[in-house]
């Protein structure tokens, strides 16, 4: 079945790039946003760190990485909904292909695109974010893949439940973006009231941001075992849930 998986993954990648809007939204936009932030950082804000005000802090590379992940997830949710509505999932299912294989192919496509987008962003943004020897790029890429993998499983859960393709993307956005706000990317979570802080601990983005930021700034992986574990738990729970509620048509 590996032959089928690879073939399906490859076909889906080709199809993805034949849809100009999807490709622009998923790959080009994050790269442009990344460059724009960098340009703003060097030309408008002197410190280059985009510390726009007290309490607001953004690590642009981390922000871009999370944005890439969210884009990947939203696009997965939309594709799944469209495929279900159009009967494409059902047609694929009426072959010896296993459901897991179909889903894995789509996850692989998104992971590959995520990695490619990140590489592009870093290459394009070299001027503004000089990546020195102190930034473990491979490690950061790996952290992003783990984060995306985990957040993709939330996407699966969403796409398992949303009734139609029209709702898929908005619902995905409504669920994902508030999580991003509370992820600790924009302001420190320590200052939040206890109830909100407890909530942030239940949200996967909190761990992705902590992991990504840590690795970017040179932390060792050992310091982030907790983050990785949390992301793994999110993955396991969401995958198990979506396996239960997934609808093929």
């Amino acid at each position: 079945m590996l032959r089928g998986l690879l073939k399906l993954t490859w076909v889906e990648i080709k199809i993805f790039f034949r849809e100009p809007l999807g490709a622009i939204g998923t790959v080009v936009t994050p790269v442009l946003v990344f460059i724009l932030f960098g340009w703003l950082g060097t030309h408008i804000v002197p410190e280059r760190s985009l510390a726009a005000g007290p309490g607001l802090r953004i690590d642009v590379p981390v922000f871009a990485a999370v944005l890439i992940a969210i884009n990947a997830v939203l696009s997965l949710v939309a594709i799944m909904a469209i495929y279900r509505e159009g009967g494409i999932l059902k047609r694929l299912r009426a072959t010896p292909l296993r459901p897991q294989t179909i889903l894995t192919a789509h996850v692989l496509v998104k992971l590959i695109l995520t990695a490619a987008t990140l590489t592009l962003a870093l290459m394009a943004g070299k001027r503004y974010y000089p990546v020195g020897a102190d930034v473990p790029l491979v490690g950061f890429g790996f952290a992003l893949l783990i984060s995306t993998w985990s957040i993709l499983s939330i996407g699966f859960l969403i796409s398992s439940i949303v009734p139609t393709a029209r709702f898929a993307q908005p619902i995905g956005a409504v669920i994902l973006y508030p999580m991003l706000v509370l992820s600790g990317l924009f302001f420190p979570l320590d200052g939040l009231p206890p109830a909100l802080r407890a909530l942030t601990r239940a949200l996967p983005f909190t761990y992705s941001v902590s992991l990504l930021r840590g690795i970017w700034h040179g932390d060792s992986w050992a310091m982030h075992v907790g983050d990785v574990a949390a992301l793994a738990i999110v993955f396991v729970i969401c995958t198990a849930l979506s396996a239960k509620v997934f609808r093929w048509e």
Binding site: K14, R18, G87, K90, L97
Partner: protein, 286 residues
């Protein structure tokens, strides 16, 4: 579904016929392993469609009603992808595309194909693994008469290659021309099952002869014939209704014995549509 039970024999074209919503697709999807029935037993090629779904999928070919592919997948990509999903190594893809008149569409996106071309592509995909049983669900719905006939020819070709075909249709003409045996299904129940000819003979033994004759005595002569139930004259046309296979012969004999001059003569034979009307009490289009 209510107590549906039937056998499909090796090498035949078997049709499940009935109006939309009768349960044709539901039944077929249970047999294909795409849907789990609440109770009952199904065996296909000695496999259980639920326990051995993937083993079964590997040996059958499926065409689903209203299925789609990825909009921007190329015809040849779909064929290669499908060919890679089955255990049986096959290089049939190009030959099938050729045979179904899609060879010049190899590089076209799925979304650019016409309805008939999409349907033919789905037949290619259903045949790509050289399946032992082929399932075709409402194969020609939405196609123009010409494509419909071309596809009927293809389906007969599948049978000639020794495959078994299980199809559903709500087109009685399609069932009559294509199927070796049909099961009439309505409201989730199978009403009867046999060859189209036998079903027609069983439920609609009546024959109708329509002829044009100027002879004023003709009408009375037909009326006195055995087996004739009704004679009506209208606009110079005489319609004779009766039952039994001998009616037509007897009318011809009567014409010849009495030297009745006839300027037009045709027989109207009942078809599956009439059978359906008879057994369900309403037309399939209602």
């Amino acid at each position: 579904m209510d107590d549906v039970s039937f056998d499909v024999y090796d090498g035949e074209i078997f049709g499940l016929i009935g109006p939309n919503g009768a349960g044709k697709t539901t039944t077929m999807e249970c047999v294909e392993g795409l849907r789990t029935p609440d109770h009952g037993r199904i065996s296909v090629l000695d496999l259980d469609p639920f326990r051995d779904t993937y083993k079964l999928q590997d040996r059958i070919g499926v065409q689903l009603q209203e299925a789609q592919l990825q909009k921007r997948i190329k015809v040849k990509e779909a064929v290669h992808l499908w060919a890679s999903l089955y255990n049986k190594k096959t290089s049939e893809g190009d030959r099938l595309l050729e045979q179904l008149g899609l060879a010049d569409k190899r590089n076209s996106w799925f979304m650019t194909l016409s309805g008939g071309q999409k349907q033919r592509l789905f037949i290619v995909l259903a045949l790509i693994n050289d399946p032992e049983v082929v399932f075709l669900d409402e194969l020609t719905t939405g196609l123009d008469p010409q494509s419909r006939r071309a596809i009927w020819e293809l389906v007969r070709g599948i049978r000639e290659r020794g495959k078994t075909v299980f199809l559903t249709t709500h087109l009685m003409e399609e069932a009559e021309r294509l199927c070796d045996r049909v099961a009439i299904i309505e409201h989730g129940r199978i009403i009867d099952m046999d060859t189209p000819e036998r079903l027609i003979r069983r439920y609609c033994p009546e024959r109708t002869v329509v002829l044009a004759a100027a002879d004023p005595t003709a009408e009375a002569r037909f009326r006195s014939m055995p087996g004739v139930e009704e004679v009506a004259a209208h606009d110079g046309l005489i319609t004779i209704r009766g039952s039994g296979e001998h009616l037509v012969t007897e009318v011809i004999q009567c014409l010849s014995e009495n030297r009745i001059h006839v300027t037009d003569f045709r027989t109207i034979l009942p078809n599956l549509e009439d059978v359906f009307l008879k057994v369900t009490g309403h037309s399939i289009r209602d």
